[in-house]
Symmetry: C2
Subunit: 313 residues, 2 copies
């Protein structure tokens, strides 16, 4: 399901001559991608990941590629796009926009401890600081505008209780202005499978193709809702505390952020409930063969609406 | 002899807050530097090398730092300067211009085989190709202008035979125009101790602070004179052949380059004979406690002037 655009050895060998990364020694398709075609590529220099972009366009891609390049240059472990001999990060292969990026070390930690969450929090804060000097902007593609456009498309598939929950939450979110919160580059999809750990350290943040410009607190909410919860979606105080304290030690959280914390935790739950509803009920051809269960984030959203005091530093 | 400017733990910890590379976990001075103060720095993210520049100025350093950043972005394994929160590669620490760069893996190979020389040749060619899109220029600081300025300073220390050799060689070099040769960024000091090998691959080219804009063939001559010779300085045909063939496979050498090969091999020998004479006879305060023996490159220069047909592809 992942290799939408096949690439032959000869095609790849020829394409690599645009770069200074040695000669091809091996490559294989990556099965887990759902948005793009990805290959692991080994050369006489090192290992890389080749991505052929199936949906993102030549207008959107410079933001993502330059962002990763910017963050890598600042020491954030993330895939670094390799520039070609014309100094371009974005090329074309078999008719698709294509880029080749460094391959990071480590693997996902699907049962994180408070120590993992602390490492995550510190690195997220470092990424937010490094992102402040990035010169490009792209509105979070799954932000409030997208919620408002998407909700009517999934409403017909929901029962009365879920329609009410969704409608109430959109109204709740619309009633809160977040203008006073620190903004910048957010990853916006920093789930456990998008972070690599290597010997207890963060080996890499990966999959930046939902990144955008938004309130920084949104990233923290996405992380806490995924990394710092029990099986039912309730907060794990030890993990949430470790995550927030480590973040705060690098970038001090503000009073305005504390005041908005509940709103953002709900916004992050809403965003993924909505996208999962959309993927389930409004499938597009050739995409997402095994959609995630939307109910997980519906339950988290319900829990968050009832939390009087979510964990904080 | 290497740490000219001491840095305390507190000073370094504070300085690192300008970057997104985590918190200091350890550091130690590097004893081998002769031009700058260098420290290994370990943080919660990774290992780095901190350099306080003792001689190079704020006017010269952007060329070097941007060059390393450019090459790293193109996939050449070289120290990548870390940008600070203001997006700058060059900062200041304890009154000195300072930069912190990634720490590369591997170690020098002081007894290279033809395989090592082939890996070196291929990577050097990749570096030359990647350098073609670098936008800054800095004349090779140890090029012909420097030879002409330096020779009169060392002449008084030489016997008649050496004075004649030096004078004749300067005249020989001046009689050859190299305008037809491919030019670009050269490392210009790619001796065995400036290349790291990691499991048989090039782990890094280091110490770019003699790099500049020059004929590319100069880099090949420096390499062959160091990597592909026997103890007496004569060519090792197997190593020279492996080096040149691997280079040629990535960037095809031209007929003009073949015609100039002898001249460049002599130029590369001259350059290091001269600098070693200068370091021995015109010592500057606080620098180079153990100068290299100039005679090694005097002998190589003499050998090269007698070579009718140096190794070529």
């Amino acid at each position: 399901m992942a290799v939408f655009t096949p690439v032959s050895r000869d095609e790849l060998s020829l394409w690599l001559k645009n770069f200074s990364i040695g000669t091809l020694t091996g490559f294989e398709g990556i099965a887990t991608g759902i948005e793009n075609t990805n290959y692991f590529v080994a050369t006489s220099h090192a290992r890389y990941v080749l991505t052929l972009f199936e949906k993102l366009t030549r207008a959107e891609l410079p933001f993502y590629l330059n962002l990763m390049s910017h963050l890598a240059r600042h020491g954030i472990p993330c895939p670094a796009p390799i520039a070609d001999h014309g100094n371009r990060l974005l090329g074309e292969l078999n008719g698709k926009p294509a880029a080749i990026v460094t391959c990071l070390s480590g693997r996902s930690e699907l049962s994180p401890t408070p120590e993992h969450c602390a490492a995550l929090g510190a690195m997220l804060a470092e990424m937010h600081l490094a992102g402040q000097s990035f010169g490009m902007r792209l509105e979070n593609p799954r932000g409030p505008k997208w919620w408002r456009a998407t909700a009517p498309q999934v409403m017909p598939f929901l029962d009365a209780a879920r329609r009410k929950l969704l409608g109430d939450e959109l109204a709740f979110q619309a009633s809160h202005r977040l203008d006073a919160l620190p903004r910048g580059v957010v990853h916006a999809d920093l789930f456990r499978d998008n972070v690599l750990f290597d010997q207890g350290r963060i080996g890499g943040f990966i999959d930046f193709y939902f990144a955008g410009s938004d309130v920084l607190l949104f990233d923290l909410a996405v992380c806490v809702n995924d990394w710092c919860v029990d099986a039912a979606g309730g907060f794990d105080a030890a993990r949430a505390g470790a995550f927030l304290a480590a973040y705060h030690a690098v970038r001090a959280l503000t009073e305005n952020e504390r005041a908005a914390w509940s709103v953002l935790l709900r916004a992050a739950a809403l965003r993924f409930w909505l996208s999962r509803l959309f993927d389930l009920h409004v499938p597009r051809r050739g995409e997402i063969v095994h959609p995630h269960d939307p109910e997980h984030f519906r339950r988290i959203l319900e829990l968050r609406t009832g939390d009087p005091a979510p964990p904080w530093v």
